[in-house]
Symmetry: C2
Subunit: 230 residues, 2 copies
């Protein structure tokens, strides 16, 4: 059976792809170039797709930065390095809605019956579009939106990591052959994929490896004043 | 109050914009360049936005053609000139889902409370994403997907034309100042916006002017063997 897997280049979506492959699915991976400042993420998405046996990987480019509104696309807004209450400025407006919508279009052309996304509602930044109710609402929409739906087909949105801790995700990923050294989570990774060690994404990733009790393969930038392990 | 209006360059969305302006809304118009073969549509979207008083018009480019699956993005698939049963090849997979998702992102940045779309479920081609249930499902999704939703705001998806005939849309548009000569409906319009007179979109448009009992300002291509009024 065919599935479209959203692959960002990060730790979570690599695990999602490995899990889908372990079920024997024919995996078509999709990444979105929405002008994110951490470009190394896209290179990681390609590496991970190939290493884990996706049959095809596509990158869709969307000029999302013109709207502003996020530290991830707006160079003038700094990525925060301390944690604050509420939804952080790294939130990208409607990003998961846009990514799932594009995946839906491709799934329809491929006649795929599943779309997989690595959202997680445990060790995450509080983004609204990572919650179970959001995923359920998108699945409901998908089953009204397409030609396949009109003709009686159904499409499932799979979010297998949604209730797992980051440590559990890492252990499952390792069990299914993910090489996490290939993945990039950092919001301000440099061009070679080395992490800042200070942003939210680095925080959750590092804590995940600590909780899993396995070595952290992340390559950190050698910024003066931080070891990346603070 | 601010609203994001999806404007394609066609007759329906021009009427939607005119109706929104008549309610005094501050209108931000959005068009999607998804590789459609009828490029004149995008020029029409800009003209219509300006003529009807939108405060801003943005075009988002999305490389949708790489997926194939539609006569509107795939030059190798001919636009049909006879009507057949079922959903036609001019259907673009998940297009309205993608357009609404992108509009949702911009609405969130603008703090707009409404998104307007010119879908119509009467004189249309049977596309699944033009039905009332689809619009309701997207509104449900939107109210789970965004930062504004988490913070208690609500967003309405307005589809004012959904139950109107094409003739009614034309009469309402004229009443609110739309110059339909500026609009392009044809799926294979030439670069100057002249219509083929034979595709589904031309069929519904011409029948609409006939039903409304008003002159059809459409400029047709002078193709040998058709007057464009057959």
């Amino acid at each position: 059976m065919r599935a479209v897997i959203l692959v960002s280049g990060g730790l979570d979506s690599a695990t999602v792809l490995a899990l889908a492959r372990s079920r024997g699915l024919e995996c078509h991976t999709l990444s979105l170039d929405y002008g994110q400042r951490h470009r190394a993420e896209l290179a990681a998405a390609a590496h991970v797709s190939s290493a884990l046996g996706a049959v095809a990987h596509r990158v869709v480019t969307l000029d999302y930065g013109q709207f502003g509104g996020s530290a991830l696309t707006d160079i003038a807004t700094a990525v925060p390095e301390t944690r604050a209450a509420g939804i952080p400025v790294t939130y990208v407006p409607a990003r998961n809605t846009v990514m799932l919508a594009i995946a839906l279009g491709w799934a329809e052309v491929l006649e795929a019956r599943e779309i997989h996304i690595g959202v997680n509602a445990v060790d995450y930044s509080g983004y609204p579009d990572c919650r179970p109710a959001f995923i359920a609402a998108f699945q409901n929409l998908a089953n009204l939106a397409t030609k396949a739906a009109v003709e009686g087909g159904t499409l499932a949105i799979q979010a297998p990591l949604i209730a797992w801790s980051k440590g559990e995700i890492i252990l499952e990923g390792l069990r299914h052959g993910v090489d996490f050294a290939q993945t990039v989570s950092c919001y301000q990774a440099d061009d070679s994929g080395r992490a800042c060690g200070r942003c939210d994404a680095c925080h959750f990733r590092r804590e995940g490896f600590r909780a899993a009790g396995v070595p952290d393969p992340t390559r950190y930038q050698a910024t003066p004043g931080t070891s990346g392990l603070a």
